[in-house]
């Protein structure tokens, strides 16, 4: 008699197969009643992490609010690839104004809904990392400080990809971009610069701050749902690999996002009212090389003239995150076994 072993987890990954979960644990996307807030047919690149993240985040927000979402969008890839008008991918009310003002526009939408006594409709604002950490930062901080009833989602692909891969304040050290070229004694982006927006958001003591990656879409959906249970300013920072800008294979998007988390370079956590309330532990820690070496933006750290010193410096950053958020449990393996 032939037997086939049943794997709870899909082979080679930590993704939980929907088929093995109960109905209420399955992703919104597995349900035919999903809203398709951002519909197919848009012009995103193959393997685009942002399109994936936006689709999951918005459909989860739609489910959480019974379809009562208004979206505000900053200028950027998501805005451009979704609305080659007269075609539009948006099946929800959607407003694009400018690059740097999405948080303030969302404040205006929320204020209008409030003044009209409309308590059911909720506001989601979205931007890339440029629209969040750089040009939209002033408006975002203002929206946080006033605690306006807006969920702001940053799809972080670590650079200005829409304009051709330039550096933003979310670009990691050593990464090659068109404005941090691989030339000179310290090729790529500079160490010691950049903004950690989730921590800055937490410093505003807003009701909810969370990070997520497109490697764990259940987690992303859960965080959106949690955010929609709360009122006031909420911030969700989603790491979305960009095959174009990162120089990665388009079928590696999920894998790279997972390595970002598993290396400790991108800590995944939740915070309420300025305090961390949960962290997603690293399941199987990997050295940062595993994450860096499959992206062409870091190719100059390997190859003919390798820079182990730079890689070590990046490893220090990962170790710092691991220590700061307690990402590694000494007895992680035994716990997992017990589950």
């Amino acid at each position: 008699m032939t037997t086939q072993p049943v794997h709870f987890y899909q082979i080679g990954s930590f993704a939980v197969g929907n088929r093995l979960l109960s109905d209420d644990e399955r992703t919104v996307q597995s349900n035919l009643d999903r809203t398709n807030s951002i519909d197919s047919g848009h012009r995103a690149c193959q393997g685009c992490g942002e399109a994936l993240g936006a689709r999951y985040a918005l459909d989860a927000a739609m489910r959480a609010t019974n379809g009562q979402i208004v979206a505000v969008n900053a200028t950027g890839c998501l805005e451009v690839f979704s609305t080659p008008y007269p075609e539009t991918s948006w099946r929800i009310p959607w407003l694009h104004s400018l690059f740097g003002n999405a948080p303030a526009v969302a404040t205006g939408v929320a204020a209008a809904l409030r003044v009209k006594g409309n308590r059911d409709v909720r506001v989601v604002a979205q931007a890339g990392d440029g629209g969040t950490v750089d040009i939209g930062f002033g408006c975002l901080s203002g929206m946080f400080e006033r605690n306006d009833d807006v969920l702001f989602i940053c799809y972080d692909n670590e650079g200005y990809m829409n304009t051709g891969v330039q550096r933003s304040a979310a670009t990691p050290p050593a990464a090659r971009t068109a404005t941090t070229e691989v030339v000179g004694p310290e090729p790529g982006n500079i160490f010691g610069q950049g903004k950690d927006l989730p921590r800055i958001a937490m410093a505003h003591d807003i009701p909810y701050v969370a990070t997520a990656t497109v490697a764990d879409l259940h987690d992303l959906e859960r965080k959106v749902e949690r955010a929609m249970e709360l009122h006031g300013a909420r911030y969700l920072h989603v790491l979305v690999p960009c095959p174009l800008g990162w120089g990665s294979a388009s079928n590696e998007t999920i894998h790279i996002a997972r390595l970002a988390k598993e290396s400790g370079l991108f800590p995944v956590f939740e915070a309420e009212n300025g305090k961390v309330t949960s962290v997603s532990k690293i399941r199987r820690q990997v050295p940062v090389e595993d994450y860096l070496s499959i992206q062409r933006r870091f190719a100059h750290l390997f190859g003919k003239n390798p820079r182990p010193d730079v890689v070590a410096h990046i490893q220090e950053m990962a170790d710092q995150n691991i220590a700061r958020y307690g990402l590694v449990d000494e007895d992680a393996d035994s716990k997992e076994m017990a589950e």
């Binding site: 694009h96 104004s97 400018l98 303030a104 404040t107 205006g108 204020a111 209008a112």
Partner: protein, 421 residues
């Protein structure tokens, strides 16, 4: 009811009568008293329902107004000068999206050098933005124009800027008849948006438009401005019939019937010009005034009709385009194409310099003798300018000109300190 009241207060109370639903506020002189007063009314519960939002910049103020207006709320804000420039991108965006936001612009100079006093440089900087720009001559008109502005904006889905001279009007206390709530409610119906973010009927607003349709979108916006040329006089007429007051409209003429020389201007300086005209009339000069209320859209035909019988037109402007000349003058020249009229531009009142009746009288006298050059700067201290030019040619590191001119005038203490050294 006629009350002795500050211009800003009159505007704030009138704006409140218009039942704005979202008001965003960022302080900048000389507009601040307006939003302070509206904010107090909202906080006290006298203006309700209304969301008053203290934002972190003018860029955010206009952006909040954009979001609110696109969600179907009547949105209002006020700004001036640097504030207008800081929100410039959103100012264009509001017009491009066709959102009927109303904004008070307390006209103020633009730096550098930083200067808080009145001129029209700020309004001129956004003349091509797609906003309707109405200029108030008096505080009464400033107040009245806001009611007409909301009506006009919402009828046409075009944002409207009510321009009132900073300090000269905003901080002047004079008699203003504040309208009744019942009249404003009858004159200004509730806002019915042409486009709105509605979960039961989702639309995408603000999509990218390429070369295939961009020109048509812009042309449609231009047509709406031309529609405004039709609507502005009708709304002013309806307003006048109900209130008995001449507020708004496209242009207003004063003693121009037999005028040889007509002076054209915007805003509060028209009062002083009329005084000067009265005096020169007594001396036998046939001189009149045309005030332009609607600067954008520019009422070319009305201006043509108002000026075509004159021999000489003198445009007094509180702003100019450096390296070129008058801004309003260019529009007037376009309107008067093909006529033998002599056009003269006079730049006056920059950065709050007083435009005195005496200077204007001399100006009219000079115009009567055909002595005005194409471009004149009223009361310019040529000596001070020449001395600074000399310093600049004598020394490479001549220092900042603005500070040098102040020192030249003896208005900074460093003069004494330097002399002592």
């Amino acid at each position: 009811m006629l009350r002795q009241i500050e211009g800003s207060r009159a505007v704030a109370e009138t704006v409140a009568l218009c039942r704005p639903e979202v008001v965003c506020a960022y302080p900048i002189s000389p507009q601040t008293h307006i939003i302070e007063a509206v904010g107090a009314m909202v906080k006290a519960g006298d203006l309700t329902p209304c969301e008053f939002i203290n934002v972190e910049s003018e860029f955010a103020a206009m952006s909040v107004a954009i979001g609110a207006s696109a969600t179907g709320a009547r949105a209002y804000t006020a700004t001036a000068s640097q504030g207008l420039l800081f929100m410039m991108e959103a100012v264009y965006n509001a017009a491009g999206l066709g959102l009927p936001i109303v904004m008070t612009l307390a006209n103020r100079a633009i730096g550098a050098p930083i200067n808080i006093w009145n001129d029209h440089s700020d309004a001129m900087a956004v003349r091509d933005s797609g906003w309707i720009q109405l200029f108030a001559e008096t505080n009464q008109e400033a107040a009245d124009l806001h009611v007409q502005a909301f009506r006009l904006a919402e009828e046409l889905s075009v944002p409207v800027m009510v321009c009132m001279d900073g300090f000269i009007l905003t901080h002047a206390v004079e008699g203003v008849d504040i309208l009744d709530q019942s009249f404003v409610d009858s004159f200004l119906p509730p806002y019915e948006p042409r486009q709105v973010l509605d979960t039961s009927d989702p639309v995408s607003i603000g999509a990218m438009v390429g070369p295939e349709a961009f020109e048509e979108v812009r042309y449609l916006a231009h047509l709406r401005q031309l529609d405004a040329l039709e609507r502005i006089p009708l709304i002013a007429k309806e307003f006048a019939e109900a209130t008995g007051r001449e507020s708004g409209g496209l242009v207003r003429s004063y003693r121009t019937d037999d005028a040889d020389i007509i002076i054209v201007a915007l805003g509060s300086v028209l009062g002083t010009i009329k005084d000067a005209v009265d005096i020169r009339r007594e001396a036998g000069e046939r001189v009149g005034v045309v005030g332009i209320t609607s600067f954008r859209p520019f009422p070319g035909r009305a201006v043509h009709e108002a000026l075509s019988h004159a021999r000489q037109v003198v445009i007094v402007e509180k702003a100019f385009s450096l390296g070129s000349g008058g801004v309003l003058s260019t529009d007037v020249a376009m309107a008067m194409q093909g006529t033998p009229l002599t056009l003269r531009t006079v730049i006056a009142g920059l950065g709050g310099r007083s435009i005195t009746r005496r200077s204007l009288e001399k100006l009219i006298e000079a115009a009567g003798r055909d002595e005005l050059e194409g471009l004149t700067f009223l009361d310019l201290d040529n000596g001070a300018v020449e001395r600074e030019r000399a310093r600049m040619s004598a020394t490479r590191r001549s220092g900042p000109s603005a500070e040098n001119l102040l020192r030249d005038r003896g208005t900074v203490s460093s003069v004494k300190a330097k002399e002592e050294v």
